[in-house]
Symmetry: C2
Subunit: 336 residues, 2 copies
């Protein structure tokens, strides 16, 4: 009877899945009559909540895994602090696994986690992840929550920020400051966050009548030397941009170093805005305008949902996705 | 017979412990005759190598733990990359545990690891760690290697950098650039690295006839707001320093922000050198003079030794400590 799902209950009762889920959790939003109908049908069909839910209270590992691309990035290290704050409060250990942006490594780690080492997994996928079987297999065993770099294909809680709006806002800010030729620095377009930020950028150009500009999207790597060479090439080109939106925090150093090398002044010759949570942004030369993400809050919410899933019998992670907005922080790198 | 140690073998044979250890490892540095004497005595006394060594080849976890204070620090995130490079090559998973500078948390993590979850532990202690029973207990079960923040009390491999010399070099550099009143920013003096850096600073002052200067050692916390308040207080004081050696990378932002707020110019009014591996050092305003530690190399060596201990029958970690020197990188924050 493992095939009886909330969806089936909902169809038979002519209710939404959300309503069934709420009824099972005894939510005050659902009338007593409806609750009774749901519980009666659930009992008669021998409905079993998500496979892991029943046995959770007997689990003993008291450990969750956090699977991340890297920690040499202030977004992830701040998010990790948010996750750990909740884990510590709950008396759990958080085991951190790094994929180093390798799809093979991510597969090996998730395979290892299938052994039951941990009670749940909080994850941000690698930039090379483009199939999801390894994730689906693990999610059938233990609860998973995604943050930032999520998988649309997996039905669970996803904590994101407003990447599309931020791509738009950053681009519009440069247009407002007089930029005519705005380049976007991006990474893997298989990542949802990258494609959202890129769409925001493109829409802002379109809305400002810049749609037929030459394409100025630069695909960066995760290697510093390669990225520096890319920046030198971009900034030496005849049709040099006068504005840069970097969707990757670690490009900051390469942009600044290349500008110093080529004696291009920020913000006079080129204006720069980076998606970044680096504490150094206000003390750079010049201070950096950033899209600052709610990294700590995203990690904290992801962990809070995870522990609800681990502790409550009826708690549907897939109802819990949330978007926490980022902020544009204007500093000298985009002018005064 | 668990009490028969290398030391006992060495005493009975009138050899050094290093020579006995090398003989057991079949080192070419030891003559065949001596090797035979060592092996004969070892056999007759039923010498058992360190308790974990014998059964290692049957171990299956294929996992090591890395216990760190935090990762929101470029030293630790780079060291971690060095550790992981080796672990991945050896087909191991590295589980990262963060103590967040809490002694209680560190104890809980090490207690958890006693259960046999991992084959070995690479560790840098918290700044609050001042007793070592929890470490000794774990080290009796599995091999441990320390890096950067080591425990002198534990007999195993310790990978450090030349902290004393760096404290000296940084201070001498400021004296050479004309500073008369040099402050040292430090953390917990229970950490070996902090006390070494501080001793280097004091010796440099002494060697330059500055020994009777007012004490200018500022104990920083791990809280940003507290540290910012400390900097504001230091820089507002009548007897303001004209040079700062920060032994803690994360103080950089607070020093720069406090100087900006008080309109104190770096390097004209105050010169600054920080122990830091931050990629942003060259793009700060002004570019920051640093003591740059061999973070990646330290992590890589710690992991290399760990895997030798896991894979070889006779390999004494306590013979393997190493010091990898750091570098002074002079930039604008200490003048031109």
């Amino acid at each position: 009877m493992a095939n009886v799902t909330i969806k089936i209950l909902a169809e038979q009762l002519n209710l939404s899945t959300a309503a069934v889920s709420k009824a099972l959790r005894d939510s005050h939003e659902i009338s007593p009559l409806t609750k009774q109908r749901v519980l009666d049908l659930a009992a008669s069909l021998n409905y079993v909540p998500h496979p892991y839910a029943g046995s959770l209270r007997e689990r003993k590992s008291k450990t969750i895994a956090v699977v991340l691309p890297e920690v040499a990035d202030s977004f992830f290290s701040l998010a990790l602090n948010g996750i750990e704050e909740v884990a510590i409060e709950k008396g759990y250990h958080a085991l951190i696994y790094l994929t180093h942006e390798s799809f093979e490594r991510e597969q090996a780690i998730l395979k290892d986690l299938e052994s039951g080492r941990v009670d749940g997994v909080i994850m941000s996928v690698s930039m090379k992840t483009n199939t999801f079987e390894h994730i689906k297999r693990l999610q059938q065993r233990i609860p998973m929550v995604f943050f930032d770099r999520v998988c649309e294909e997996i039905d669970t809680a996803k904590i994101t920020t407003n990447d599309y709006e931020c791509g738009y806002t950053a681009t519009q800010h440069l247009i407002d400051r007089g930029c005519k030729k705005i380049a976007l620095l991006s990474v893997s377009d298989s990542l949802s966050i990258s494609s959202q930020r890129m769409k925001g950028y493109q829409q802002a150009l379109l809305d400002n009548g810049r749609a037929d500009d030459a394409p100025r999207i630069v695909a960066c790597s995760d290697d510093e030397a390669t990225n520096y060479a890319l920046m030198m090439e971009l900034l030496r080109s005849e049709d040099r941009p006068d504005g840069i939106v970097a969707t990757v925090s670690k490009m900051t150093t390469e942009i600044y170093l290349a500008c110093m090398e080529l004696k291009i002044n920020i913000p006079e010759d080129i204006k720069v805005v980076c998606f970044s949570n680096d504490a150094s942004a206000p003390i750079l030369n010049p201070a950096l305008t950033t899209i600052t993400q709610p990294a700590f809050e995203m990690g904290k919410l992801a962990a809070t949902l995870m522990f609800k899933a681990l502790q409550k019998k009826y708690f549907l992670l897939s109802d819990q996705s949330a978007v926490i907005p980022s902020e544009l922080r204007i500093r000298s790198s985009t002018g005064h």
